[in-house]
Subunit: 326 residues, 2 copies
């Protein structure tokens, strides 16, 4: 039970549902990016669900093709964080009316991404809503038994790595709200990162057997890395100077950069930990999947997350940046 | 892609999503109660999703425990219609606010049914909504490879059978809306049927290898049997006099009974077809699962559904009763 992108009170909801129903098919339940379900001696299914609500997760005027893309992308990103290969998805869709042109574009956006990652739309449900659009997608992926990347696997001494650039999702949102001046090309790139994120599926699969833990950055680095630290019962120190940000974001004031990276969310990069002896293996994976992978810090004993920042060392509470969130 | 309980225009939506994404794991996609996904040489997963929207599928004042029960029951009913054994479910929930007492009751209703059928709540997503409550559940069940009951398997000459009583769901809705006078005991029974339906899971599993086709009655017998006939490219004749209705419903005017049975929906009984040589086997299944099973008609060549009614033979269009629907 996750509650990505929603106020803190909604995280408390999970406890109502944390009661286990007795059966032997669920190998890992509530509390990671995916649940793992027994699929025979060799395989497990990774399953995840995300719900997107109009005016909460997206605005009514978002391009429907981008919305279809993103609704699936956030689920594929959860599969990627577990190292699972996407196989199938189901779509539940509530709509105030059946608008043919909107639906064609939405379906095109969703199905193009599904095809890119070999993830069949296997079924679904469509219904009328009395208010806006609500989209709920469940994605199923496959992983060799025992090979899934979990939040709970980080070990003291692990390097902490991140893929791509962080903070561009939040930058894109600021651009969409006309809060930031950027060049036309940089505006376009940031909005594209916000609205059409690329789930890091190949990376997640390639990190099986190398990474000790992983999560996708959907709520900002502080909160998401915080989940890993809490699940693994460890702490971490990360270096601001090592964090990879785009040239566009790097041109903006430091505190805005920090808010975007630490609490912005919507990046859908992977943050993962691995043994220091695996650095060459990680770098080889980065080359194979054509993604920059950057070492940003180290896992240490104790709890908490420390940022070595230009302002001096900062203790980062996972929720410290909540009030800055969009 | 189904569109249970929604206006006809929403059924047209499915065609936007009917494009197949190429991969080998989906054995059966959009168009049946469940999708079937490859789970190794011996098994398939049956997966289904349903979305319930406040003021469309339920009223704001429904008891939250009943809502939690029903939200899962409609999905387990889809698994039952495929003969699948429930294993796991995922819940996506959008709420206008986190109301602790409401959530505790909702979770209790859902988890009690989940435990009854050995179906673990494996994960989910909770989020804020700007309007009412929206619930989306995805259920996963298991079926031996090739043993799933499909809509497309009905054969000319098959008997048509139904479990339990039909029409009580619609009767319960009429009672809830104070449109019908019944004894207190009969009122209670009808509302219970509407609000806390029992998915026919044991029946579906027991009919593997016996039934040629099956579907659950969620939209009324005419529409749901119509899906079987269309998928199987056959027709059917059913006898009004053979249709099992409760004593409470039987006490009401004939045309009201017919509307409840044929177009009422919300019964969550199974309608299935089987060879005439299997009658004893079907009756034995009914005894084993403690459910009355009634033979109501026969599959014939050609298309269409004919009702041999007291008013004379009637050609039933699947949507003929739509304007009567709640």
């Amino acid at each position: 039970m996750s509650s990505a992108g929603s106020p803190g009170e909604f995280e408390l909801i999970a406890r109502h549902f944390a009661r286990a129903a007795g059966n032997s098919r669920v190998d890992l339940g509530i509390g990671d990016d995916c649940a793992l379900i027994d699929a025979g001696p060799e395989r497990q299914w990774a399953v995840t669900t995300d719900m997107l609500v109009e005016n909460v997760h997206f605005l009514a005027d978002v391009a429907p093709a981008a919305l279809g893309h993103k609704a699936l992308a956030v689920n594929l990103s959860d599969l990627a964080a577990c190292g699972a290969q996407p196989r199938a998805c189901l779509l539940a869709l509530a709509l105030p009316r059946a608008d043919d042109a909107w639906l064609a574009d939405f379906a095109n956006g969703l199905l193009a991404l599904a095809e890119q990652f070999g993830c069949s739309l296997a079924g679904g449900d469509t219904t009328r809503s009395t208010a806006g659009v609500t989209i709920s997608i469940t994605a199923l992926g496959e992983v060799p038994r025992g090979a899934a990347l979990l939040r709970s696997g980080a070990r003291v001494g692990d390097d902490i790595w991140v893929s791509g650039h962080l903070g561009d999702g939040a930058l894109g949102l600021a651009v969409r709200r006309d809060r930031i001046e950027l060049s036309p090309a940089a505006r376009l790139a940031a909005v594209e990162r916000l609205e059409r994120p690329t789930p890091r599926v190949e990376l997640g699969v390639a990190l099986r057997g190398i990474a000790h833990s992983a999560i996708d950055v959907s709520d900002g680095l502080a909160g998401d890395l915080g989940h890993v630290l809490k699940s693994s019962v460890v702490g971490a120190t990360i270096e601001w100077g090592a964090l990879p940000v785009s040239a566009a974001l790097a041109s903006l004031p430091l505190e805005f950069q920090q808010r975007c990276v630490l609490a912005g969310g919507d990046d859908y990069e992977l943050v993962f930990t691995a043994d220091a002896a695996s650095r060459d293996a990680v770098r080889a994976v980065g080359r194979d999947v054509h993604l920059p992978l950057t070492r940003i810090g180290i896992v240490r004993a104790g709890g908490g997350l420390t940022l070595a920042a230009p302002q001096g060392p900062m203790d980062i509470q996972p929720r410290a940046f909540d009030h800055f969130r969009p």
